[in-house]
Symmetry: C2
Subunit: 311 residues, 2 copies
């Protein structure tokens, strides 16, 4: 059985960058060449066609540059069944291109219900005597609010199937201060550090040959001071860093989530790479060129920030 | 625009009970008459057929008895695209029968991503110049861990489309003590009470003619002492009470979430009604009889506990 952390670290080393591109379908913001391809499809296949064509094109532009892509499930779900079918299309294409697939699902539930989510994305489901993969991504994001027992089925699935999770520890939005930063009376430290301790504890069950664990964490680029502290509390966790680019996190902020050796985190950018400077008249060639050059710019910014950082 | 709280309270009064039945597809536990119907379908339609036939039968048994059903999305998602198609089938059937449909989704995200989830379940989504309903349920459960700004798009959607949310405040699992019960240094009260205060604040934006709000809360039946206190902190919130039945919460525990007038909460039971005492040889007639009698038993237990309670 492969270990998810080992697979991700191997891809990071192969591509020479920890940058990840986020795939968020927003049909009305897609370039004209995508929308005209979609309009040629049957009315009940237009959404799926638009999303699949758009992401096939993005993947063509970036798959030799980055180790992984992050698919945001909310944006797929907003297009209903067609959106979910397009999610499967994009997962298949990305995996065929050798990319690690992160489903940004932020799922949470308890007991057998949490196990059902884990089976849907990381494991297998049974029906009529047949066991099969369902969405079959490499890892998902999960919300820890329901407590340690709610994470257990996900951790078990990671161990059984060589998959990974990223537990929300400190999110990139301003409102993450509302609960995640609240100082606890017994320890005098914020709630997010308590979550970090749980991630570290579960993480010890799934450490790979690379020394990192398949139980990772989400820490936003927008709170660099907290990031430095959380990095210390979870020495084995790979940190998924959102909030770079469109949300205002800088490269210097994002690299606070890395270990001293320059590894241990992946940084995601979505909109700023795939929807910026795109108009209805952007051609296929120009779109690929823009996405590719924005990805390379992000890669060089993160590389420079990693080289320059002093903690 | 109708108000969700008004619609729910009207249904509760019409049916004379606050009991809600949970629909969790577990194909391998369904009775034989459902599985044989499914096996007659094409291989790629068997899961959808099993789930839809099973829930059509459950709905036939209970729709004149209860005000609402709660569909657990995790169990649908574990069956992939077919599961999601079956989710849509069940939502349509339940709405046609006049039932309020609660999607137990426990979704959470930030900014435009949270808005995408809100649009998927409560609002509308736009593509190709057309705006359409997507999953079109009456309300969903949401996870508050990401803070007040993460709930804002859901609250706005409730106000715009006459829908509702139930915010997780104190869940029914043992691990809910890990984070939700942590005492905060500044207030000396547990985190769940802080979440309750936020629910109450948002709730004031969506109070219906009935005096209750479309912004509700989830409080497990398994923690009756906390339930009493949380009930006081959210006087306008309708509380969705899971944990009754299979999870060990008693009727006396569950009614702690009600107001003194006997309203203000709905109690859910899933497995204990729809999968208990069912075997592969249970006939259609026996299945309907069992589900119906278990529902009536739950209704009478909750009614008796409401009549007897002393706070």
């Amino acid at each position: 059985m492969t270990n998810f952390a080992d697979s991700l670290v191997e891809q990071i080393k192969a591509k020479g960058t920890p940058c990840v591109i986020g795939l968020d379908p927003r049909i009305d913001e897609m370039p004209g060449f995508v929308l005209s391809r979609a309009m040629a499809a049957a009315p009940d296949a237009r959404r799926r066609t638009a999303i699949s064509v758009f992401h096939d094109t993005v993947l063509e532009a970036i798959s030799d540059l980055v180790p992984a892509v992050k698919l945001q499930l909310a944006f797929y779900e907003q297009y209903g069944l067609e959106g979910i079918a397009a999610f499967q299309d994009t997962v298949e294409t990305a995996r065929r291109k050798g990319l690690i697939v992160i489903a940004d699902a932020k799922r949470s539930d308890i007991a057998s219900t949490a196990a059902a989510y884990a089976n849907a994305y990381l494991g297998r489901s049974e029906a009529f005597g047949v066991s099969s993969r369902v969405f079959d991504v490499d890892c998902i994001t999960v919300n820890p609010f329901l407590g340690a027992d709610s994470l257990r089925p996900f951790v078990d699935c990671c161990k059984q199937f060589g998959k990974g999770i990223f537990v929300l520890v400190k999110t990139s939005n301003p409102g993450s201060t509302d609960f995640q930063d609240r100082v606890l009376a017994d320890t005098g430290t914020p709630l997010c550090e308590r979550v970090a301790a749980m991630v570290h504890e579960y993480g010890s069950e799934a450490v790979g040959a690379c020394g990192m664990s398949s139980i990772g964490a989400v820490v936003g680029a927008t709170f660099p001071d907290e990031a430095r502290r959380l990095r210390q509390l979870m020495p084995n966790a790979i940190i998924l860093v959102p909030g770079f680019g469109a949300q205002g996190g800088t490269a210097a902020d994002a690299v606070k989530c890395f270990k001293a050796d320059g590894f241990g985190a992946v940084v995601n950018a979505s909109r700023s790479v795939t929807y910026s400077s795109i108009s209805s008249t952007t051609s296929l060639e120009d779109f690929i060129g823009t996405v590719r050059s924005r990805t390379m710019l992000m890669i060089s910014e993160i590389r420079a920030a990693l080289a320059e950082r002093r903690d």
